[in-house]
Subunit: 333 residues, 2 copies
């Protein structure tokens, strides 16, 4: 269709009107200011038609400002409505990545990611996965990267209440096919978790997204279901309380849990629980000795700890640290 043989001059193919309007909008989004001549040349239309196109955009409630005079031109400024965003490949990837690694996650971010996932060209998918894999530097260095596309698909499924299949790799490394009703997506401690009702096992389960592969929506829809705990985050925390990793440290702090969270910089691989109004207990559990020691040390540096329970490896490390500190206090100052 749209044969348009003839000129085919330069780069302009003189497509249909909607296409041309999108191209115009796209150009206006890339650069702040364009002269009429530049635009007519790129769009391959007469100046009169360009003016009409601009007028059409204005009718669509997108504010295009024009300034007359020698140094005149057209500019797209913020209007009443948000015009369609016309992104290039790089930008789309950057947005997907930013949304997936966002620390503060709202439902709207998941919806946006779902939209993007739906339309992201196939050729960009491997690239995005690669970038996502390389970008797990922050904020938790040992955090396995979660594929933004997996997150996007799950967000869409959740939004549409679609029963979803996927492949899950449990902690022992075995893979199994699962069928669940995805209810919540939660980012916690640098990991993404799916809270879902497993229809095969007839119970609630949490899944780590970095262990989850190839999610596929099925045609089945599911009704809203009452979560065991009203709050997804609470539910997740109660699950974590069960899970214990290689090194676990428990510290009692003589300060309210809120104040500790305030004064502590960065998130903790573990949890802080109130023990009365001015006391709380922090529990750090991780696979890495370095990480465990560092966060334990950071907590102790608050100077409000009253008791601590730690495995020998951690205690040794910290004991050695204390010894070195004591030495220096005597000698250096």
């Amino acid at each position: 269709m749209t044969v348009s043989m003839g000129s085919m001059s330069e780069r302009t193919v003189r497509g249909t009107l909607p296409q041309r309007l999108l191209r115009l909008l796209s150009l206006l989004q890339v650069r702040r200011e364009w002269s009429g001549a530049e635009l007519t040349e790129r769009l391959g239309v007469s100046a009169r038609t360009l003016r009409r196109d601009v007028e059409r955009l204005r009718d669509l409630d997108y504010r295009v400002e024009g300034t007359p005079g020698t140094a005149g031109g057209y500019r797209l400024v913020s209007g009443r409505d948000l015009p369609p965003l016309l992104l290039d490949d790089e930008e789309a990837i950057a947005i997907a990545l930013a949304l997936a690694t966002a620390t503060e996650v709202e439902d709207s971010a998941l919806r946006a990611l779902a939209k993007l996932e739906r339309v992201l060209p196939a050729r960009l998918r491997p690239r995005l996965a690669a970038v996502a894999g390389a970008a797990s530097i922050v904020p938790y260095p040992d955090t396995p990267a979660v594929d933004p596309l997996v997150l996007g698909v799950l967000a869409a499924c959740r939004h549409e209440r679609a029963v979803t299949d996927f492949v899950y790799r449990d902690r022992s490394g075995g893979e199994s096919e699962r069928r669940v009703e995805p209810h919540h997506l939660v980012s916690h401690g640098g990991h993404w978790y799916l809270i879902a009702y497993d229809t095969d096992r007839d119970d609630w389960r949490t899944f780590r997204l970095d262990r989850l592969r190839d999610p596929r929506p099925t045609h089945g829809r599911f009704p809203l279901r009452e979560t065991p705990e009203s709050d997804p985050a609470t539910f997740l925390t109660s699950r974590f309380a069960q899970g214990t990793y290689r090194y676990t440290v428990t510290i009692t702090l003589e300060l309210s849990a809120e104040r500790v969270r305030e004064r502590l910089y960065g998130p903790l691989p573990g949890r802080i629980e109130a023990r009365g109004t001015d006391r709380c207990e922090a529990r750090i559990s991780a696979e890495s000795l370095d990480l465990t020691c560092q966060y334990t040390a950071a907590l102790l540096a608050l100077g409000v700890d009253s008791a601590m329970e730690a495995p020998p490896e951690v205690a040794d490390r910290l004991g050695a640290m204390a010894a070195r500190l004591a030495d220096r206090t005597g000698s250096e100052r």
Copy 2:
């Protein structure tokens, strides 16, 4: 224009063709699958026209799949090109926020943010600023939030090499009007920095974005200029070396700088410099005693430190910590 008095039924106003195509695209982005009837109803056109609209989208290289049969419908799947993203208010804010707080920042992310900033409706701007202010929880709690819009404007200015004016508040609190050539935007240690050539002072300066207000592009353009250090990050680091905050700690570590960075979880408010192949020096400098102590403790927890220099407040804190640790090693285990 576009009077269309008459039916005005339900919600459909039967706008122009480009508008309708955008609405169709928007609908297809919101939900995975739509039946033809739903779409004709919402768009206010006949089924035949809907089919033609779908065909038009396909001609524009957006893959719309249709499935015949009782449970049929239309679906937008990823095609060759990225269709225009049609976002609602919430999603736009979520994306702006995610881009501005992204830890890994590429040029493409800045470009995307600049685009978004250009078109973000005025009514959303205060909301975005408010959300951004509230969302400074992570990853550095004391980090003042940077307004994503400020970042967006500067990214656009930089991209277009536009000389830029803004108001800057220096460390003493005084505000001054600046005119600069914005060359780089760098995120470092939870802060955003603008590296720019100050045309009034005829020298390179770095500006913290959270102290920067009301950036405005001027009409002037600037040429590329050689940065003092080739790498923006290096330049920033060399500036930091000069700047000293309230509490500064220096630690010598008997391990290569690379290994330290690898083993250390989370970024450091300071820098790590090599001192030979198997030795490095870490310098922590911050305004907050809590933060300084926590990161110092984390570094010490690596167990590879051989010397340390710290101000009395920090030394006291850590000394007390060491004492408590020593007590416990005796009593508890």
